[in-house]
Symmetry: C2
């Protein structure tokens, strides 16, 4: 791991070379590096916590001067109970995941002695940019090595001392294994990132993890494919037939479990016929948790009838812009979906609103009808579409992926929570014994392809 | 299908709306549209051939004036024996392919009553730009509809009359089915393409099919992901132990079967220890087919010893730039790989040359050794890596995909020949009954995830 700032092209070239070597290593070789990484971080815990303490000290001063948010300070602190152990455990967790590389997903007999395999392989070189939390570097280094990719990492400036300390340890640990040392490289300055974003011939994928602004900046400034999401504008649609208890549980959890998360609810679409039967109880439960409701005229009118005077203080009038806002706070925009005579036209209206306003992250429907649910799940163009379940389930750990490098709202490659498999691509291998394509043609003397699916053992 | 030039944003919006509706249709609905498309093109054959004749007439004049290549004229002609029928048959071929949509590839029981499905779905809106051959429009329209994607098409200017005629027929045929008419739209001007390339919020993927210049232009001018390949610089490495007959068959086929194709051979790497035993026969066979060999010093010296005077006329001295040139013609660059004492260092040298010079399309190795072949297949970072088989097998029909929309050298999403599956992505669906994420935590009273893989029926 380079700790002095080499030029971007040298860093990218070293990563590219390392990625090619990594691609030829066995799972055992890659796992050995993870063990070494874990053991070294355990051994050097004191030195790393000392470095972290220096970051904390600077951050405390910044908080005192009002130039840093207190939540950033909290995320910085590696000495909080359990945090360092979780980081170590996370490395072993990644190590224990199924090898994402070498999997054959298609095997075809093209002709006698001529087989085609589609085999999972690493993407190559990843540039991963993230903010604050210093333990993320260990997790990302582990994910990259496990998936056979070289990684260039840039952390947030508040955690520079911690990063450098951890990076030193990772670098030293890797150097004792068959994984090339330049498989994990650290860059420290924003300028270095700008230069790296121009290396589209050497870097295969950029993963920005952090604020919407960071993601947008990266997308605007590179030709390299970007995996991630800027906004998380999640919506829920409560259909006319929704179960009251299910609606209340799902909406309250989606909105209040962790309002600052990208998979939290921002917009509630309520069917006109559920305004009196369902909305009041849902609203009361939300208001009890401190949620402010920005309502359109119909939903506000229904709630003014049913909420107490105190509860009604939490009602505000929605502006059109509220339905395009990721509040990341205890605020929820509420819009009424008109009932209709044409069958399912109401559901279509909800789908259309979501496709026009949501950020293709996660959207949910509350209904008793399987027909309504299936139409919603097919029609909503988002990475996650849930029926009668909280939007907060959109998460790699909760999906059972073991871990994630982030959540993607892309329409190609990887969508939703991205685990190890999202860091792979495939290649096609053909094995023959002198086979010529020119021998295969229609007509006299021409060979024919067999195209027979083979069992993958 | 819009035949007047609407504004790019209107076209993209119409396509986006159509794509959402397409995503909710059944396979039967999509197949019905393909049947209608086939029947209409059969019925309107005379009118379409008349339009095609007008394109041919203009093209003949252009050829006579020297402003158009004769091969373009030949590709334009839909009246050549079997060509129109092949186009019709192609539509039925696409219709008969397995539905790429709705496939569940992962099903996990998250907890009692809470399931997660990973389901294949359409990408959304495709912008497909291609040159000359007018029958391609029918094939691409069929692929798009079958995969549930809306398509905006731009054909080559030489085939405008044919395109408009075919597009009219497609448009009319679709309007009788449940597939929205704006699922397939045609644009005619290059200016319209420029405007469409700016619609990155509405268009999900661009597929340029045509010259390297076209692909490079598209990549330089859009933020939309681009699927395809600019260059096809394929290499072969003949190892020291290569079988002479296999080497000759594979290299001659790779180079001479269709030199203008992207999967043809451009660079031959020959192991030093095979210079005398293998290279002469391979070279003689190539020269007999009219191939010019641009050799480095070692390979030229070996061939000057063994070729006849007439054969040796086909030898030229290689420049460094020849190893980065896609000749698309009967020219082959030849480079010697030095033998080495360190085991496999020679193979590593061949891999390194290919990774630095090839275009990540298709590369091949000729060897008797499985160890050498496996190292080569893991180490070469290309969409196709073949052992003892011709590079010309890199093709969707030959792979058994039924058809292809092109060959991708991308490192993400789709790589190699792209069939129907390459035009899909997936979404995650969760079905619950009021499940809250906040109920799941370590400690007293917390629920635990089951994360149990379920059979996919």
């Amino acid at each position: 791991m380079s700790l002095t700032e080499s030029s971007a092209i040298d860093i990218a070239k070293a990563a590219s070379w390392a990625s090619r070597h990594l691609a030829t290593l066995s799972e055992a070789d890659r796992n050995d590096a993870l063990t070494a990484l874990h053991d070294a971080l355990l051994l050097k815990k004191d030195a790393i916590l000392e470095a972290n303490a220096r970051d904390i000290q600077l951050a405390e001063q910044a908080v005192a001067h009002g130039s840093l948010n207190h939540s950033v300070l909290k995320r910085l602190d590696l000495s909080r109970p359990g945090k360092y152990d979780d980081m170590l455990q996370g490395i072993l967790g990644v190590k224990s995941l199924r090898d994402p590389i070498g999997n054959v997903t298609l095997r075809t007999l093209l002709d006698d002695g001529l087989t085609l395999d589609k085999v999972a392989c690493p993407i190559g070189v990843l540039l991963i940019i993230f903010e604050a939390r210093p333990e993320v570097i260990a997790n990302i280094a582990a994910l990259s090595i496990k998936s056979g990719n070289a990684a260039i990492l840039k952390g947030g400036k508040e955690s520079t001392e911690s990063f450098v300390a951890i990076a030193n340890v990772i670098s030293e640990a890797i150097s004792t294994t068959r994984v090339p040392q330049s498989s994990v490289q650290l860059v420290k300055t924003r300028a270095a990132v700008s230069d790296l974003l121009a290396q589209d011939l050497l870097i295969d994928l950029v993963i920005p993890r952090g604020s919407n602004d960071l993601v947008r900046y990266v997308k605007e400034h590179t030709k390299i494919p970007v995996l991630g999401h800027a906004d998380g504008l999640c919506s829920a649609y409560i259909h006319s037939d929704a179960d009251l208890e299910i609606a209340t549980k799902v909406i309250v959890d989606s909105k209040t479990d962790y309002p600052a998360a990208c998979n939290s609810l921002e917009t509630l679409l309520i069917h006109q016929d559920a305004l009196e039967r369902v909305l009041p109880d849902v609203a009361k439960a939300l208001v009890a948790k401190g949620v402010v409701l920005r309502c359109d005229a119909s939903s506000k009118a229904a709630l003014m009838e049913s909420l107490t005077f105190d509860e009604a203080k939490k009602l505000q009038d929605a502006q059109e812009s509220d339905f395009e806002t990721e509040f990341l706070d205890l605020t929820l925009a509420v819009k009424t979906i008109s009932s209709s005579d044409a069958p399912l036209a109401d559901v279509e209206a909800a789908i259309t609103h979501i496709n026009l306003h949501s950020s293709k992250h996660t959207d949910i429907v509350v209904t008793k009808s399987e027909t309504v649910a299936n139409l919603f799940m097919k029609g909503v163009d988002s990475a996650g579409v849930f029926w009668n379940a909280s939007s907060r389930f959109a998460d790699g750990m909760r999906y059972g992926f073991g871990t994630e490098v982030g959540i993607s709202t892309n329409k190609i490659h990887s969508r939703g929570p991205v685990g190890l498999d999202g860091l792979t691509i495939y290649k096609y291998l053909i094995r023959g014994s002198g086979h010529r394509a020119s021998d295969y043609f229609d007509g006299d003397g021409g060979k024919r392809y067999k195209h027979q699916n083979l069992e993958i053992s």
